[in-house]
Subunit: 600 residues, 2 copies
Amino acid sequence: MSDKLVNLRDIRFVLYEVLKVEGLLDSERYSMHSRETFDMAIDAAYKLAREVCWPAYTSMDKAGVKYDPRTRKTEVPESMHRVWAASKEGGWFGITSECEHGGQQFPGTVGRAVEFILHAANTAARMYVGGTNGAAHLIAAFGDEKMKATYVEKLTAGEWAGTMALTEPQAGSSLSDVKTTAIKAKDRDHYLITGTKSFISSGDHDLAENIVHPVLARLPDAPPGVKGISLFIVPKYRFRPDGSIGEFNDVVTGGVEHKLGLRGQATATLNFGENGDCHGWLMGEPNKGLAYMFQLMNGARIATGVQATGVASNAYQHALQYSKERLQGRAITEKDPTKPQIAIVNHPDVRRMLLTQKAYTEGMFALLAYAANLTDRIRISSSAEERERAQDLLEILTPVCKAYGSDISFQSTVLAIQVYGGYGFSEEFPLAQMLRDQKVFSIYEGTNNIQAMDLLGRKVVMKHGASFKALVGEIAKTIEEARGLAPLKEMTDKVEAALRTVIDTTQQLAKLLVEIDLYMSYASPYLQMFSQLVISWQLLWESVVAQKALDGGSSERDFYLGKLAAAQFYVNNDLAYAHTTARIIKTGDRVALDCQEAWL
Amino acid sequence: MSDKLVNLRDIRFVLYEVLKVEGLLDSERYSMHSRETFDMAIDAAYKLAREVCWPAYTSMDKAGVKYDPRTRKTEVPESMHRVWAASKEGGWFGITSECEHGGQQFPGTVGRAVEFILHAANTAARMYVGGTNGAAHLIAAFGDEKMKATYVEKLTAGEWAGTMALTEPQAGSSLSDVKTTAIKAKDRDHYLITGTKSFISSGDHDLAENIVHPVLARLPDAPPGVKGISLFIVPKYRFRPDGSIGEFNDVVTGGVEHKLGLRGQATATLNFGENGDCHGWLMGEPNKGLAYMFQLMNGARIATGVQATGVASNAYQHALQYSKERLQGRAITEKDPTKPQIAIVNHPDVRRMLLTQKAYTEGMFALLAYAANLTDRIRISSSAEERERAQDLLEILTPVCKAYGSDISFQSTVLAIQVYGGYGFSEEFPLAQMLRDQKVFSIYEGTNNIQAMDLLGRKVVMKHGASFKALVGEIAKTIEEARGLAPLKEMTDKVEAALRTVIDTTQQLAKLLVEIDLYMSYASPYLQMFSQLVISWQLLWESVVAQKALDGGSSERDFYLGKLAAAQFYVNNDLAYAHTTARIIKTGDRVALDCQEAWL
C-alpha cells in the first residue's frame, strides 16, 4: 500500500515554481508569513493527514454514522472525534481565516493546498471541518457585528460546527423552489423558521457543542423565485444572555442518509421548527439570501474540485505504488515463460492508465491552485482593474473546477481500480471506497449539468464576454511564453489550435442564442471541450517551467521529465477530442433537443 | 421506482425483426421450437426476473455471503436460495443445453436474451446459475463418456453447481504462470491436485449438494508456460461407487472476498489439496487445458458483456422512469417562477444522458444477440465456409462484447446515477448498488486491457486478417442496404466514413508490427475506435429495420422513431470520436511507451 497520499513535490512545484506564491508576501495581509510558514503548513497538514486522517479513512466508512430515531440523535464514528480534536488542536479550522478571528490568515492558495492534502487522506472527515470553515467565512463576510461576535471565533476555533442548508426535497437543482418559511417573531429580533432541508452535509453530529446552520428561507411577503430567498443563521442550540449554550432550537434531525460513499459523513435531513419553535436570525438584507449564499457556494464548488482531485491523487499514488510492486506477465517481446514476471508498471497499457491519472490529478491541482490564487489577488490587489479581471477569470473557471474536476477525478479513480485489477474490486483495499466516495462530487454543490449551464449560459456571455476574453488572454500569454522553448513547439501548436477552435465554436454558438433551447442543449459537451483547453493550458504552463528547469540543468530531471510527459500525453490524447466536440456542436445536431419522451 | 427491468419490446425487435431468429427453426437442432416457445421463454424469464430475482437484489447485497473461518463453510443469503430453487424448478440452468442432457435446447440467441433479462434483475444471483451452466457445457464438449455421465445432467438440472478455477494469486492476467500442480495417483484414475485459486465466482456456497470445479493445473513433466497447462475436473465431494455423494474432496475454502459490489456472490479463495488429498480427473489430453478452458472463457466473455449490459439496461429503465416523475426546474424559456416545475425528462441535458444510455444499452444488446446468433450458425450451418466465417466474426467481436460492453455499461450506469441526482448516491435506491456491481466487469474474465491486446495483437491479424475482413464485409453489407433508404443517408455516410477510417488505421498500424511494443501500446484506444464502429454498424442495421417499418406505416411510430434517435445520437456523437482516436494512433504518439517509471 502506498504511503504517499499526494505528491508533495508537485504541490511545491505549483505553489513556488508556477504560481510563485511568495509574491503574495508583499501584501500587508500576508506580511506575517514567509516561504517557511507556507512550507510548515504543508508539512504539518501532511503529518495530520498521514497520522490522523488517513488511519481513520476505512474505519469511518465501516462504522458509518449512527442515527437513533427514538432520541433523534446522531453519532459519528469514534475515529472522526480524533480527527476533529486534532484539527482543533492544530488550528486547521481557520487556516485562511483572519487573525483577528483566531485564524492563521494564510493565503487561499496555501489553504487550498492544505485542503487538498487533507481531502486526499480522508475527504468525509475534512468535510466536517471545511463546512464549519465555510459557515465562518460567510458570517464574517455578511453578518452584522453581533452575529460575527457570536459565531465567527467559535467556528474558527472548532468549538462549534457549521453547515449550509439549501436543498429541500422538492428544491435540489431548482433553488427558486425553496419553500422553507421565516416569520418575524413579534417584538423579538428573531424569525420563526419552518421547513425541511435534505442532504445537509455534516448536518448533525456529536463533534461540537453547537451546530450553526445558514438556512435559505422565504419571508411571507417575498417575491416568488430566487428573488425572494433570504438567508438566516439558525443554531442547533440557542444562547443564554451570558453567551453560554442554552436550550434546543427545534432543529430536529429527521434521519441520516445511507450512501454509496462518504459513509462517515453525517448527511442529514433537518426539520426546522417541527415544534414551531425554531429561531433564526436574518443575515444582511431580506431577499438577498441567494447572493450571500453564492459567495459560500462558489467557494464550495472549488472545494468540491479540491476534494475530488485529492481523492483521485491518493488513488493515483496507490495505483502507482501497486504497479511497481505487482509482478504480472512479461514484455511482449519476451517469449520465454520461465523468465521472471515483471512489474506491471512496465506494460505500456498500464503506463497509459498511470499517465492519464497523473495528467488529470496534476492538471486539476494546478487549476485549483490557480483559482485559489485568483481569490488571493482579488483580496489583496490595490488595482480595481486587476481585481475585476481576477474575478472574471475565477467566475469562468469555477464550473470547470467543479464539474470537469469531479468528472475526471472519478475517471481517474476508475483507472486506479483497473490498475489494481481484482484487488481494486476488493473492499480490503482502499480503492473501492475511494470510488464510492468520488461519485457524489458530480452531483452536489450544483450537478455537473448545472455547472455546464452556468458556464455556457452565464459565464461565457456575462459582461459581453469579458470573462471569456480574460481567459483567452491568459492562455495566449502562456502560449506566447511557450513559443520561446523549442522542445515545446508541438505541444504549443496543439494548445494554440485548440484555443482557436474554442473561440471559433463559442462565436458560432453565439448565433444560436436566438434559439436558446438549442444553444443550451450543447452545455455539457461545451464544458468538456472548454475544460480540455483549460487543463491543457495549465499543463503547458507547467511545461514551460519544467522545460526551463531542465534547460537550466536541474538535478531533478525525472520530476521535470514527468511533468513534460504528462502534459504531452494529455495534449496528444484528451485535447485532440476537443476539436471533435467542437465539430459536433457546430454541426447543430438536434437529436437530444428534438427527442420526444415517448421515444425513450 | 421502475418496474421495467429491460425493454422487452426491444428484445423482440432484435430477435425477430433484426436477426430473424425464426430462421433457425429450419435446422433439425431447433426443430422442436417455434416463435411461440421463444416468446414463452422470454416471458417466463421476465416473470422469474420480476418475481424472484429482482426482489432478492438488494437483500442479497445487504445480507452478503457468510464465511465461517472456524468451520470454513460458506453460506449465501437466504433470498439466493429462493432464486436457485426457482431456477431449478423452471429449468433455467439448461436453457441452451441439449435435450438429451435435460436441457431445453433453445438457440443461443434466445438463451442470451433470457440471460440478459435475468442479469438485469440480479446479476450476482444469475452468476451462480450461469457458472453452473458453463461447467456443464465444458464437460459436455470435452469430457469423456464417464465424465459426461457423472456431471452433465446433474449440472444441467441444478442439482450440483459449477465454477471455473483459473486465477491464482500470482497468475491473474498471466495464466502462463499457473502453479497449481496435478500428480497422478498411483494405480488410480485420478490426480492429486495442490494449489490455491483466488477470485473464484460462486466458489463455495450452500446451494447445491456438490460443486464441480474445472481447474487449471500443471503435470510434473509439463512444459513451462501456457503449453503446459492441463484441465482437471475437481468436485467438492467425491462419489461413492453407487454414484451418491461421498467424502469431502479436500477443496478447502480459504475465505470469501469482501467486495465493492456483487456482494451476494460468493467469490472465494479455494485451497485445493490443503491436506494432500484432493482428487481431480484429467479432461481431454494433457497440456491442452487452456484451449478447452478458452471455449468456456470465450462464452464467459460474451456473458460478461451480457451481464454488464443487463445491469445498465435496468439502470436506464430506472433513470428513464425517474426522469418522468421527478419535477425540477422549468424550461429555459420559462421565466415565471410561479409556474409549476416540469419533469426532468424535458430538460435537453437530461435527454442527452438518457439517449446515451439508450444507445449504449440497445446497441450493445444488439451486438451481443448478434454474437450469440453467430454461435448458433456455427452450430447448425451445413456449410463449412459459413461456419468458418461465423467463427471468424465471433472471434473478432468477442473482445468488443466484453471490454467495450463493460466500459460503456459502467458509463451508462454512472449517467443513470447522475439523472437520479442525490438519490443516485443513496443506497436507499438501487442505482448505487448497480454501480458497485458493474465495476468488476472491466476486470474479470480477462481485463479490458487484455481484451484490447487480444483484439489488436491476435484477432485483427489472425489468418492474415480473415476475421477483420469478414467483419468489414458485414458492415459494408449493412451500409449497402441502408443506401436504399433516403432518411438514413447522413447516418450511413458517417458509418461508411468510420469504416474507411478503421480500415485505414489498421493498415497503417500493421506497418508498426516490426516495432511490436509500439504497436501494442495502441491496443486500448484501438479497441475503443473499433468498438464505436461496431456499435454504429449495429445501430445502423437496426435503423434500416426501423425505417422500413416506418415507411411501411407501422403503428408503433414512437418505438421506431426512438430507435432512429438513439442511432443518430450515437453516430453523431460517439462515432465522431473514432476519427480522432484514429488520428492519435496514426501520429505515432510514443509518450506512454517511452515514459520511464521514475517520471511517474
